[in-house]
């Protein structure tokens, strides 16, 4: 039985979250998203010409995501610089999580590049990256059907927990890590992964809990976008 979380949070409680946009003035749009000690920054550049040409889509622009963890951002040893299989996978699923809200038909043949960097990590990194990237796209002025908010849910023993920290990810008896990305308005899911074992009923609860958690994250995203324009 899992009765207490290492940081004493309630099972459905998020860590402290904060967000800020336009943090990288050189970029077309940018944002920082922090959840607990996980800090992600994202920058958007584009649309611009896509090379090699055979990758172009003549009907619309394409989204290209690049996720990376800074060498000093992991707990434990230094992370060797350069793309890894993990970072390539995360780059790919990030693009899939964001594309549904974008309409790039006004920019055929082009590419919109999103760069995500993790400055410090403590679990929930791919979700933090997606959340920051969605903000960066809105900051840049791309028309979007909705924002995207993401959180990692965990099944630890018999409990479903919200916003899994690294310590919980490493739980000695094993756990199921379920990153979820949601379009806040209709609750539709744009990212769903699972690593570990969970019963279908537990999964159902995880998704329910994820939706509620993402509502809180959406509020912070909204406030960050508006804060840029407060006097």
């Amino acid at each position: 039985m899992y009765n207490k979380r290492p940081d004493n949070r309630k099972f459905d409680e998020l860590r402290e979250i904060s967000a800020e946009v336009s943090v990288i003035p050189r970029a077309d749009g940018s944002a920082m998203f922090k959840i607990g000690k996980t800090v992600a920054i994202a920058a958007v550049y584009g649309p611009k010409d896509l090379f090699p040409r055979f990758l172009r889509d003549p009907k619309k622009g394409i989204l290209r995501c690049n996720y990376n963890m800074m060498s000093f951002s992991g707990s434990g040893e230094r992370i060797r610089p350069g793309p890894s299989r993990r970072s390539k996978e995360i780059s790919f699923i990030t693009e899939k999580a964001l594309s549904p809200v974008l309409d790039l038909t006004d920019f055929p043949g082009s590419v919109v590049d999103i760069f995500i960097e993790l400055i410090q990590t403590d679990g929930g990194t791919r979700c933090a990256g997606i959340t920051a990237a969605a903000l960066a796209l809105a900051d840049a002025g791309f028309p979007m059907k909705d924002l995207v908010s993401a959180v990692s849910i965990g099944r630890i023993e018999d409990k479903i927990v919200v916003d899994v920290s690294k310590e919980e990810e490493d739980y000695e008896k094993g756990m199921a890590d379920i990153p979820v990305a949601i379009m806040p308005r209709n609750g539709n899911i744009t990212l769903l992964q699972m690593d570990g074992l969970a019963k279908p009923s537990e999964l159902k609860e995880a998704l329910k809990v994820a939706k509620r958690a993402c509502e809180q994250i959406y509020k912070v995203q909204k406030d960050a976008l508006k804060a840029r324009y407060k006097k």
Partner: protein, 260 residues
């Protein structure tokens, strides 16, 4: 030359810079320590105007090089991230990144003697500490070179050794000791650019495009120069170098005050 570069040159003839600074004036510089304190042994963020750079220090235990059995190692890596500018491409560090890592961070620390590699020794010929510094650009608004140098220094200043068990030969990264990296002095980099016949420090983005050549001067407390790196496509005269070194050393003293 573009119209903007032309304009910068013409303004400089009247000793005017586009943002109103004097030729030897820095933008606002801020240093923040411990920005990644959970993960890194030492970390820092430096902003010069809108230019932003972050750096982190990780420590590992390895074997000393055979030709220096009583010394530890320091390895510097700089990445000019595509996140920070539309001009940087994805991929392994390009020549600009490598130049910064070697000429600004590496040489500054090594040649200045401020970092005593012997203090990184654990057991002669067998075990020593390796200090790994990683510096990343976050926003390029000109003068990444100085920001990179300052950030690397700040991260080293911020660093504390993790606990190392000599018997099990394991590092416990979760536990930091109170011991930091001894620095005898702070080597300060100052980049001076030459635009026509004017010398300007802390170039803005547009000024970097207008410059013909630059000299990054790294100096230590007593005014000695410990590293030099000339960049740009045009040559410098001997007088140029004299003036730029003098300016670089003078301004380094100002920069050093930020670390007190």
């Amino acid at each position: 030359m573009s119209i903007v570069s032309n304009h910068i040159v013409n303004l400089l003839e009247k000793d005017i810079r586009m943002d109103g600074r004097k030729a030897d004036e820095f933008r606002d510089i801020k240093i923040e320590y411990g920005i990644s304190s959970k993960s890194a042994e030492g970390s820092a963020r430096v902003t010069i105007g809108k230019t932003e750079v972050v750096a982190g220090v990780k420590m590992e235990v390895g074997t000393p090089y055979p030709d220096s059995p009583d010394e530890g190692t320091i390895i510097a890596n700089v990445e000019l991230l595509p996140l920070s500018s539309p001009e940087f491409e994805s991929g392994p560090p390009g020549i600009e990144s490598i130049e910064l890592a070697r000429s600004v961070v590496d040489r500054g620390l090594r040649e200045s003697g401020s970092l005593d590699l012997k203090k990184l020794l654990i057991k002669k010929g067998e075990k020593s500490w390796t200090i790994l510094i990683d510096v990343y650009s976050v926003n390029d608004d000109g003068n990444l070179a100085d920001a990179v140098g300052l950030a690397a220094l700040a991260a080293i200043k911020d660093a504390k050794f993790p606990k190392y068990d000599e018997k099990t030969e394991k590092i416990d990264y979760e536990q930091k000791t109170k011991k930091g990296i001894e620095l005898n002095g702070l080597p300060m980099p100052v980049t001076v650019v030459k635009i026509n016949d004017k010398y300007v420090i802390d170039p803005s983005l547009d000024e970097e495009k207008a410059m013909k050549s630059r000299l990054t001067v790294t100096s230590i407390e007593n005014g000695s120069v410990c590293a030099l790196q000339k960049g740009g496509n045009e040559p410098l005269t001997v007088e140029d170098v004299d003036m730029m070194v003098e300016l670089g050393v003078k301004k380094a003293k100002e920069l050093r005050k930020l670390f007190k």
